[in-house]
Symmetry: C2
């Protein structure tokens, strides 16, 4: 039988990263392609202890159906922490637990966009978000960035030329894939433009707590007096990615619709791990734990930068991130990073070519993304050495 899929899914292709991820079952490949947290960042012993407590004292609550919006005390703890630390949330906002940040993105688009509506994104941007938007039948429209983030004039222009722009998707802090951070002035400018045009901002902030250098910059959500920002974050990068626990903070009317959508998707997030996160937040030292993760990533990032400085030909440039998980490398103009990535994988090193993150073009990219959180120190040293050799060969050849 030939199956006829919905228009949106007919067009959707499996994410290139997901395919790369699958190929990584080959243990001889050094992967700079993933975006996984470092395994040493999981507080295993404490989670094991708290789990045993839950089985002993709250097993029914932890194994039974629960409410869609999330475990109430956990939601309160999240809201209180976000308010105290980042000034996020007003009395018109509501907090909902989601099954990882991607679900927040997916639900936000599902409740706001009809097929054919447009989502305006930083170009390049997170492939998982792009696929969620496309799965809703939405059009993804890219706006150019520079080292300070999305360019406001280009956003104005894009809004003018785009029919039914409903959503502005931004990763202002340690952006994926570029690793760069939008400046405060830019955040304010982008917010004002969205407000003026009645466009909802979806602020995705999975990496915000992973700053290991420089000054904290306020989130866009913390400026949201008009109630136009859906803020989305998660525990994936600070406790465990595999548990699939994230949260959104957004105007109540939007969260209520997203809750209806979440009921359709999975009824509620794994309640055992909601309890576990809640206990971790209230009985352990989450902020102290995050400090440890920051130290790990500072070290790993510096090691990778050191190796790049040593191994890479001068024509290749790269960002020097203040946090997050990624370094963005750029080959000289005219070179295609997809070809470079093919050379690399043949030498057992995986990187993600920049075109993977394109919003709305098939254009080749001369940039590629490197991840430093997942590989071991040894893999970073060996892998970047190999990449350097490939780069020298590749640049001399063309």
């Amino acid at each position: 039988m030939e199956y006829i899929f919905s228009d949106a899914f007919q067009r959707l292709k499996p994410s290139a990263i997901r395919e790369i991820f699958k190929s990584l079952t080959d243990p001889t490949i050094i992967s700079f392609a993933a975006g996984n947290p470092a395994p040493e960042s999981f507080p295993v012993d404490e989670l094991a202890k708290l789990s045993a407590d839950i089985f002993k004292n709250s097993s029914t609550a932890a194994l039974q159906y629960s409410i869609t919006e999330g475990y109430p005390a956990f939601r309160e703890a999240i809201a209180a922490r976000q308010k105290a630390k980042f000034g996020i949330g007003t009395d018109k906002d509501m907090t909902m637990v989601v099954s990882g940040g991607n679900q927040g993105i997916d639900l936000c688009c599902r409740v706001l966009c009809n097929p054919g509506d447009a989502v305006i994104c930083e170009n390049p941007t997170f492939i998982g978000a792009l696929n969620s938007f496309r799965a809703c039948g939405a059009k993804t429209v890219g706006v150019d960035m520079d080292e300070d983030g999305m360019i406001p004039e280009k956003l104005e222009e894009t809004i003018k030329n785009t029919k039914n722009a409903k959503l502005l998707y931004l990763i202002p802090t340690f952006q994926n894939p570029r690793g760069s951070t939008t400046s405060l002035a830019r955040r304010r400018a982008l917010y004002e433009i969205a407000k003026k045009h009645g466009i909802i901002i979806l602020e995705d902030n999975p990496y915000g707590e992973l700053r290991f250098r420089g000054e904290e910059i306020p989130t866009i959500k913390s400026m949201d007096d008009a109630g136009i920002v859906v803020y989305c974050s998660s525990f994936s990068k600070i406790l465990s990615a595999g548990m699939r626990i994230g949260f959104i903070i957004a105007p109540e009317a939007i969260v209520q619709k997203m809750a209806v959508g979440k009921q359709c998707e999975d009824v509620h997030s794994n309640i055992f791990f909601q309890l576990l996160c809640y206990k971790y937040m209230t009985e352990c030292d989450l902020d102290g734990h995050i400090e440890k993760i920051r130290a790990i990533y500072r070290r790993k990032c510096d090691l990778m930068l050191e190796c790049l400085d040593r191994e890479m030909p001068k024509e290749i440039t790269y960002t020097r991130p203040d946090g997050g998980l990624f370094i963005w490398c750029t080959l000289p103009e005219g070179y295609d990073s997809a070809a470079f990535a093919k050379f690399a994988i043949a030498k057992k090193v995986a990187v993600v070519p920049g075109a993977t993150f394109n919003c709305d073009t098939e254009a080749p990219s001369n940039a590629f993304r490197l991840n430093y959180s997942t590989p071991s120190d040894e893999q970073i040293v060996t892998g970047i050495k190999t990449l350097g050799e490939i780069a020298c060969e590749y640049l001399s050849k063309e």
Copy 2:
């Protein structure tokens, strides 16, 4: 700011059951309204022990990102068990882990239906599925049932009169809300009709393992030589509902599209609990555990039937289920169960009025759903006594 939602979500209302569920935080209410497994059906001690093992021996795998389709050994164990016990799955099928059965339903509709397409359902049917279909912008079209399940002639007629019917949604075993089971002859007839018209069947079977009386009837999926059945089930009713672990078995091409959709929704299901289920399946006695659950539900069902026999006026009829979680009660014709449910909640007993499960009408229903798995024995006795008193009063009044 006034928010403008997508057309599908503009129309969607929170499920009535969900609202009832929320009101149930009032501990003085006896609830026959939920569909929760009995808390005593959770194998807490074994899960606690296996969890400790996972933290000790596989913590990185259990806390790190994983692949969308699910933990490979777990998928194999599911496929092998379904094949061996129920004859489900061919070499053209593929098994994928989902975050509870509802996600399987949601993804199936998302990949197959465009807004405006029709999903044909038993009327009445599971409200969670109806909402998933509506969230995709699909039209839900009900077909009448009798005690043997959906009526084939009515299905033929409905298909003839329905534009773009893409999906036939069936809960053949211990249907929600009616508790009734589709006969083998009917299963064959419905399958042949779907095949003839090129319509995919979504067979939802969350309760199939909860048979405590009578003969097993083969699933529709077990007859699927044409590759037209998406089979959806879960561990919610046999291990834990709160963990949100289910599975689908369906033709590979469909599962691959659903995997792309799942990546948008939550990337993958909680991997710790996938490992936990896998260990339970391979290191503990799942079938023996299911026998214990069946015994619990047989007892609870019989107790509720006994109470109904004793307390209810003769004009009220009800099903005598062979398994599952629900009894379907019918008031005399002309009575409205919504009014009855209001009387009941005023006396602190919650039931779900039948109209909640309507596919495509606003018509009142004279039936209501009772659940016997969640309440304690004492609550069943007291609650049904109260319902009997209300019923006597209500019937004499009108």
